[in-house]
Every structure is written in structure tokens, then in C-alpha cells.
């Protein structure tokens, strides 16, 4: 049986409309595809569905209690309602409960990629109330002195996304869940610092956290900088995997990096370098003006014109005194194509040799 035939055969009814689906799809996945917006908190499409938050519940004909759409497989002929008043009321109550457990709802978007999910839902359902004044699960870890990850567990809602991304996506198993109910606490194996665990500081837990309980400490340094946060899509500057990232900027400042969930090479994954090692760019040590060596060996800042004239003059002299085979070029494996292409053209067009190479040989 071909896949298309299967698709055509299987249909269900979603909010009164007939929709086709593939065997194995969950109700949530079908709804996503048909642009229904079912709210979720514990869901990350890269991970196994977990069914913890129950926000994604829907009504299914013939089933008494609402079912979690993220873990329930669609079946042929199923009749589902995603937004009945009863369901929406249920979701609001759930959210109010969760809100009452947390110290704050509004957090800086610099905390992480998914950090606004909770706030957004609370607003959508008007669930900002102090009705439950309940106890909270999770207590912030103030002793972990690592420079990358803020562990503000006061804001934790026990969705397990961090634990799951660490285990399923990273295969690192650095963090786990301790206790149950209000005693629930995300922690490392020996309840200590991340540095002393299997953690590689890839930041994936930070980026999937829906409340900002885990947060990007480096990006947060720019919380008080004036200006809007802008995002620019580019590629990580480190290894050859070529992970897609979004650069976070405020005005002229580069303030952080977030993984691109749709990056073709990384699907949202990053490592410590791509995630946290971006700030060499605006470091004080950067060269800002051309430098020319003086007879005493020191360097003097000059204008571009003068430096370029001197640069060219040296090659002209070498060409004249020693011929075209006296000049060599070394390109960089870290600069873009335009640099590498120009380097080889400089040598080939300039001197007619192939005296050009790069660092791959060492």
C-alpha cells in the first residue's frame, strides 16, 4: 500500500471538518498541520510526547474525560473538538493553578528560545490571578556559580522538557527529577553544580524551558541595555557541522545566540561553543585599524590607503626581484567563501601559479 493511499483512507473529524492523516500521527500533530492552535506546555516537537501538563486536552466523542492530544494517536473516524467552552475552561483553570505556583510569569525573552510560551498562554487565557496562592514546586539554585545557565527553579512547572532534551536529544543524562508533586525538583545526579555533573553546557535545556526557569546568563547580562531585541539568522562559526543559529542583538551589540529549531544541520541542537562562545566578536582585543611595522619592530596604526599601498608594494617588489614564483597565499578555513575565493584568485590571476593553500593540512 502506498503512503498516499493510506493518507486518503484515514480520515477523522476535527472541529466539524473532515481531515486526512497518516497512521501513527497524534491528534496534536494532525491539528498542528491543519493550523488549529492547541495550547501546550510540556510539548517539544523534537522530543517524545510526554503528557504531563494536560493543557493540550481535547474532547473526543465517546470518551468521557478529556484526552491529552499530544499523546493520543488519531484513529479513523474519530470525532474531536479542540476548542469547546468546556475544554477552554478546563485549560484556564489548569493555567491558573500553574500561575499560582510561580514567583513570576513575565520573564525576559533573553532567558531562552521558548521562555515566552508560558506568559503567552497565560495572557491568551486571561489566567493572571492569584486565586490559588498555592505552594510552589522547585526552589532556585543560588549556589551554582557556572557562568552560562541560571537555574531559577522557582519558575519551574515540572514539564520535564529540560530533563527530556538532555536525555533524548543530547544523550547526556546530566539532570533528573527528584521527588514528586510539590516537592518536585530538577537537579543533577548528586544534587550539586552542573559543572560536576555530566553536563556539557550545550544550553538545550535553557532553550526548551517554557517559563524561563532555566535561563541564558550571558544573554541576560544585556537585559538592561536599551533597545529592542532583533534576531538574525546565520551559521555557527565553529565546527564543520554548520548549525543554524539566530543572533540576538540590541542596537549594535551582539548579546546572545539561540539555536534555529528549523536549522537543516542541527534541528535546534547546539553545543557549548555555538551556544555560548559568541562574544569574542565584540572583544576589546579586536583589531580596529591597519597596523604597519616600524623599523624598531613596533606597530603603528595607519590609514587604510597607506597600509594597502605598503601591502601591495611589498608584493610588487618581490615580483620584480624574485619573479612570480616568490609569492605565496594561505587562506582561512574560518572565513567565508568570498575570502577563500578572492585569495585563490589573487594568487592565480595575480601570479599565474597555484601557490595557494589553507589550514586543512594542519
Amino acid at each position: 500500500m502506498s503512503a498516499t493511499a493510506t493518507e486518503r483512507e484515514l480520515t477523522m473529524t476535527l472541529d466539524g471538518e473532515a481531515v486526512g492523516f497518516r497512521a501513527g500521527e497524534t491528534i496534536y500533530q494532525v491539528a498542528q498541520r491543519t493550523k488549529k492552535s492547541i495550547p501546550t506546555l510540556c510539548y517539544d516537537e523534537r522530543l517524545e510526547a510526554f503528557g504531563a501538563c494536560r493543557l493540550c486536552v481535547v474532547e473526543v466523542d465517546g470518551v468521557k474525560a478529556p484526552v491529552a492530544s499530544c499523546t493520543t494517536k488519531a484513529t479513523a473516524g474519530m470525532v474531536v473538538r479542540t476548542d469547546s467552552p468546556i475544554i477552554e475552561k478546563y485549560r484556564k483553570t489548569l493555567l491558573e493553578l500553574v500561575v499560582s505556583e510561580n514567583r513570576e510569569v513575565d520573564v525576559s525573552p533573553l532567558r531562552g528560545f521558548a521562555s515566552q510560551e508560558f506568559t503567552t498562554l497565560v495572557d491568551r487565557y486571561g489566567a493572571r490571578t492569584g486565586r490559588f496562592k498555592g505552594r510552589q514546586s522547585g526552589t532556585s539554585n543560588k549556589t551554582d556559580d557556572n557562568p552560562f545557565i541560571l537555574r531559577d527553579y522557582d519558575l519551574c512547572i515540572s514539564c520535564y522538557r529540560c530533563v527530556r532534551v538532555c536525555a533524548e536529544q543530547e544523550g547526556d543524562y546530566a539532570i533528573t527529577m527528584m521527588n514528586r508533586g510539590f516537592g518536585t525538583q530538577i537537579t543533577t545526579e548528586f544534587n550539586g553544580r552542573l559543572k560536576d555533573s555530566a553536563c556539557t553546557f550545550c544550553g538545550q535545556c535553557v532553550q526548551t524551558c517554557p517559563t524561563g526557569a532555566l535561563a541564558d546568563k550571558k544573554a541576560l547580562r544585556a537585559a538592561d541595555l536599551p533597545g529592542e531585541i532583533a534576531k538574525t539568522r546565520t551559521i555557527c562559526p565553529y565546527c564543520g557541522v554548520g548549525c543554524s543559529v539566530d543572533l540576538l542583538t540590541k542596537g549594535d551589540r551582539l548579546i546572545g545566540v539561540q539555536p534555529a529549531m528549523d536549522g537543516p544541520a542541527n534541528q535546534g541542537a547546539l553545543c557549548i561553543k555555538g551556544q555560548f562562545a559568541f562574544d569574542f566578536v565584540q572583544h576589546d582585543d579586536r583589531l580596529k585599524k591597519p597596523l604597519v611595522r616600524q623599523p624598531d619592530g613596533s606597530f603603528k596604526e595607519t590609514e587604510w590607503d597607506e597600509a594597502l599601498d605598503l601591502a601591495a608594494a611589498g608584493f610588487r617588489r618581490s615580483l620584480k626581484e624574485h619573479g612570480r614564483r616568490s609569492i605565496y597565499g594561505i587562506a582561512s578555513g574560518r572565513a567565508p567563501h568570498e575570502a577563500a575565493y578572492s585569495m585563490q584568485k589573487f594568487i592565480r590571476a595575480g601570479f599565474g601559479t597555484h601557490y595557494i593553500d589553507n589550514c586543512s593540512r594542519a
Binding site: 578555513g333 575570502a339 584568485k345 601559479t353
Partner: protein
């Protein structure tokens, strides 16, 4: 890579050789972990008990530099057990009979003596790889940075050819490139053996094409000169050099030689973003824009061509590399450097490169494709060799085993092998200046097996002097089970622990890749001095916080 990264979760059998993937390419390693969760088998060959080794079904702690022996013996096992893909061999390859005859002598027992691992484990590795449908090979510099680098890669090709693991989803031979655009650098022809598009420089038609395009009728046909030779010729036949953003002095083997070479030039121009050890030797240093400040294109390890975008302005008067190079070229009267934008440069590359023929600036800004992309409507080529090989049939190479350029002896009784660490990158001009990285990795250390450390009288944190035939470095000792007995490890990331003072014992005769992975050293206690009592790293790291 012959196959895309997405394929990493798909093989039945994964063979990782000379790749510390969890540290060097952690994101790629996540795909591998997924394959294993699905039940894939993992074979790991590496002298060091790296993290990947813990996950392996078969772990082969082979003696450094003995890869070819292992691979020959695996091929022997596959042939003996008849696990070859006969149809593939018949229709897609050449040279099988010669190769097969040559294999007879290379038994697991023969290899066991060279590799210093049990013959039974080699046997098992051969059987597992031979039965994998599909089986994928992953490797990095651990394979190429040897005098026999080409033999190593050829041996891997032989394995993939005899089992038909090329041109299939989830298979292939997949080198993991270490730098973000090292693949692209070769694609652009910034490599002595090839023109843009990986066309050989002794190809007459290609030479004529570029002689014409570059208005250079006397363009050489062939006559490559590798960087290694280039450096050796400094002060002899080479007198002027243009270096774009590579910290040659720290990253290259045999640092003393390299520094001496660059100092003997009449003229050295360095383009970089920092005042690196190499830039300090230049006559003119030109400030370049960095990543996040530069619009451009890069190509990753799976041949995926992707757009880089500028998000912030450069500091001071820094300029893009292409602009700087073009300005020098124009002053020298070299034609064809009237580029107005990175798009102009990239489009010219596409117009001259057969593998990029279907790409242009506008298209790469819209979608990212794996080359070859020969035409504008071509969807890209995630998997290579599905239909055939570029040169017709895949050719088996008859090989033998050679010892490394340098083997241990009484004067230098210990193997040193080098590599990279997760938290730092190459020569640390970048990670060394990113805040927080010091928290995890602030200094280099020499990894020594605990039993060796005890035998040699070292406690953790003691200073050692490591000496090779080329130089010495002072470094702190750290004992760890990752190192086997008789082999020590260090990375080349810290300028103040110039491990590459020691390396550089030889080069692959074909590619001139340096033997960076292996050399013979002697290890002694460092005399206690004021300097060793005071951590010499303090000043360098002061600005990184």
C-alpha cells in the same frame, strides 16, 4: 561527507575511527546516539578511551598510527567470510581481484601485533561492519593527520566499496570537518591542487578556462606547492606571503620551524581579527570583519552551502576579507577585482565552478542545498555516488602498512597524540576570548594513564617537561584512564603551551598533511622554578573575563 548529517540516525552499523565526535562535533554525535537508541551497533577505534568508546559495542584501543593495519584486517575478515556485496563489486568497482589477493596475508593476528589489540576484537569489528546494511564510516583528523593519511582514507574506501556502502542512505564514508568553512575553502579552490569546483590543476581544459577567465595566459598547468613546502621555501624561493586569518604559528606543526620561516620573508601581510602570534610577525596587519559582522557563504561538512549574515557593525575600520584582498589586487593591477559586494564575489565563483553552477547569491539566501548543484533547477545532492562515481568505477587500492614517521625508542619512549577539546577550538583566538569558557577549561594539561603517572612519579598538577626531537614544552600532568599506558595526549589550543613545538615528525607524501597526531616524546619532571609556581596563564586570560 558522502552522506548528509541527517543520515546519521539511520545506519545499522556505525564505525567511528579517529574521531572524538562527542567532543569535537557534539551536535553530530546526537544523531549517532539516536541511531544507537534504535539499536544500531557502534564500532570505535581510537587510541584514547574517549567518551564514544563507552558507548561502543566493540572498542579497539589501537596503537597510535596503526589504523591501516586494522582496516586491512577487517577487510580480510569480510572477504574470508564472504560478506562482500558482490553485485556492487561487479557493477560499480574496479581492481577487486588484485585487492582480494593482497588481503590474504593481513589476518587479524597479524594486525593484532601491530595495533596492540586482541585479534578476536578485530575479527568482531570486521564481522559487524561487514554485516551492516547499511554501515556508515565517520572519521576526522585522527585519520588524515598522519604520514599515511591518504592510505588511511583509501583503506576506508576499500571497506565501503567491498560492502557496497557507497551511494546508499545511511551509509558512506564521512569525514567530519573541523572548521566552519574548511570544506568551502576547498570548494573555492583555495587549495593548491584544485581550481574552484574541485577540478585538478593539471586538467588542461580547466587550466585554459581559468587562464581565460583570469586573463592570465601563462597560468601554470599543474605545479602545486603545498603550504608545507611553501613554509620550507620561505627565504629561499618564497619571499612574500599573504595570510588570511589563520594562526599558522600556533596551529602548524613544528612551531619553531614555522616562526623561523615567516621571519625570513621579505614581506608578510596578515589579515585577521586579532593580533595573533602570526600577525605579530607581519609587516602589515589588516583588520578584518568577523563572523556576525560579515555577509557571506559557508559550506559545512555535508556539502551544504549556507548563508552567513551580518548582525552587527564591525569595530573601528575593520573590512571584509574579500574587500581587503581586492584592494591589494587592484593596486597591483591584477584584473577582475572590481567586486562591489560579497554577492559579486560569490556569483563569480558559481559561474566558474561546475559543482556550484546552479547556485547564486539569491538562491543560497533562500535555500540551503548540498553540492553538486549543477543547474538552476537542480535540487542538490545530499547523497553522493548514488548513480556512479565521478571517474566511472570505484577503484580498490592495494595497500600495505607503514610505521609512523617516528616510532618510540629508548631516547623518546612515549607516544604523544594531539587533538581538540569540547570547550575550546583550534588556537583559542575565539573561544579564549569568550567569557565563561575559562570556568570549564582554563589551561592545557597532559593526559597520562594513572599507572604511568605513578611509575614516572607524577601527582596531578605537577609540571612536566615534554621533549621531542624538535622541541619541548612545559605542561601540567593530569592522570586519566582515557590515555592508554605509554601514550599521552594534549590539545594544541593554548598558545602558552605550544604543543606543536613537539609535533611535525613527517608529512603524508601525497597531500602533505602533517603528522600531527603522533610523535615520540620523553617526559621528565620540570624543575621547580618561580615561574612554574606562578601560573603563567594569568596575564593571557585576564582580558577574557
Amino acid at each position: 561527507m558522502s552522506n548528509p548529517l541527517a543520515d546519521m540516525a539511520k545506519p545499522d552499523v556505525i564505525f567511528c575511527i579517529g574521531t572524538n565526535m562527542t567532543e569535537c562535533h557534539p551536535v553530530a554525535a546526537t544523531g549517532l546516539k539516536k541511531a544507537m537508541a534504535r539499536g544500531a551497533k557502534l564500532i570505535v577505534a581510537d587510541p584514547r578511551r574517549i567518551k564514544l568508546a563507552e558507548l561502543a559495542d566493540v572498542y579497539l584501543p589501537i596503537r597510535v598510527g596503526s589504523d591501516v593495519a586494522l582496516l586491512l584486517a577487517m577487510a580480510h575478515v569480510i572477504e574470508r567470510e564472504g560478506l562482500m556485496n558482490r553485485a556492487f563489486i561487479e557493477h560499480r568497482t574496479a581492481g577487486w581481484e588484485d585487492f582480494r589477493r593482497n588481503l590474504k596475508a593481513f589476518t587479524p593476528e597479524w594486525a593484532a601485533a601491530i595495533c596492540e589489540v586482541p585479534a578476536a576484537d578485530i575479527e568482531r569489528a570486521g564481522l559487524i561492519y561487514g554485516r551492516g546494511r547499511p554501515a556508515a564510516i565517520y572519521y576526522t583528523l585522527g585519520i588524515t593527520e598522519h604520514i599515511c593519511g591518504v592510505d588511511n582514507v583509501q583503506s576506508l574506501c576499500n571497506l565501503a566499496l567491498m560492502t557496497g556502502n557507497l551511494g546508499v542512505e545511511g551509509g558512506g564514508i564521512n569525514p567530519m570537518r573541523g572548521q566552519n568553512n574548511i570544506q568551502g575553502c576547498g570548494d573555492c579552490g583555495a587549495e593548491t591542487f584544485v581550481f574552484p569546483g574541485s577540478v585538478k590543476i593539471d586538467d588542461v581544459a580547466a587550466r585554459d578556462k581559468f587562464a581565460n577567465a583570469y586573463q592570465r595566459p601563462d597560468l601554470d598547468l599543474g605545479q602545486a606547492m603545498t603550504k608545507v613546502t611553501g613554509l620550507q621555501e620561505c627565504g629561499k624561493s618564497i619571499h612574500a606571503m599573504l595570510i588570511d586569518g589563520e594562526n599558522t604559528v600556533v596551529s602548524d606543526p613544528d612551531r619553531n620551524h614555522c616562526e623561523h620561516a615567516l621571519k625570513s620573508l621579505d614581506h608578510l601581510v596578515v589579515i585577521d581579527i586579532f593580533m595573533t602570534e602570526t600577525a605579530k610577525l607581519a609587516h602589515v596587519v589588516l583588520p578584518a570583519t568577523a563572523w556576525a559582522e560579515t555577509d557571506g557563504v559557508a559550506c559545512n561538512t555535508e556539502r551544504r552551502v549556507q548563508r552567513l549574515r551580518a548582525a552587527v557593525p564591525p569595530p573601528g575600520e575593520a573590512k571584509p576579507d574579500w574587500w581587503i584582498i581586492a584592494e591589494i589586487a587592484k593596486r597591483l593591477g591584477i584584473p577582475g577585482f572590481d567586486f562591489q559586494s560579497p554577492a559579486d564575489v560569490f556569483n563569480e565563483l558559481c559561474s566558474l565552478s561546475p559543482t556550484y553552477g546552479g547556485l547564486d547569491w539569491e538562491r543560497v539566501s533562500r535555500e540551503s542545498l548540498n553540492w553538486p548543484v549543477p543547474t538552476k533547477d537542480h535540487p542538490g545532492t545530499p547523497i553522493l555516488h548514488t548513480e556512479g562515481f565521478t571517474n566511472g568505477r570505484g577503484r580498490f587500492m592495494v595497500l600495505g602498512y607503514r610505521d609512523p614517521a617516528e616510532v618510540v625508542d629508548d631516547a623518546f619512549p612515549v607516544w604523544l597524540t594531539t587533538g581538540r577539546r569540547l570547550q575550546s577550538y583550534h588556537t583559542r583566538t575565539q573561544t579564549g576570548r569568550a567569557s565563561g569558557i575559562d570556568y570549564l577549561l582554563s589551561e592545557e594539561s597532559l593526559e597520562v594513564n594513572p599507572a604511568d603517572a605513578e611509575a614516572w612519579g607524577f601527582l596531578d598538577g605537577d609540571w612536566a617537561i615534554v621533549t621531542s626531537r624538535r622541541g619541548e614544552v612545559k605542561i601540567k600532568v593530569r592522570s586519566t584512564d582515557r590515555s592508554p599506558r605509554g601514550t599521552v595526549f594534549a590539545s594544541f589550543s593554548f598558545a602558552d603551551v605550544p604543543v606543536n613545538n613537539l609535533t611535525g615528525s613527517g608529512y603524508d607524501p601525497t597531500t602533505h598533511t602533517a603528522e600531527l597526531k603522533v610523535c615520540a616524546v620523553r617526559i621528565e619532571r620540570a624543575p621547580v622554578t618561580l615561574e612554574s609556581a606562578h601560573d603563567p596563564r594569568e596575564p593571557e586570560n585576564a582580558h577574557a573575563r
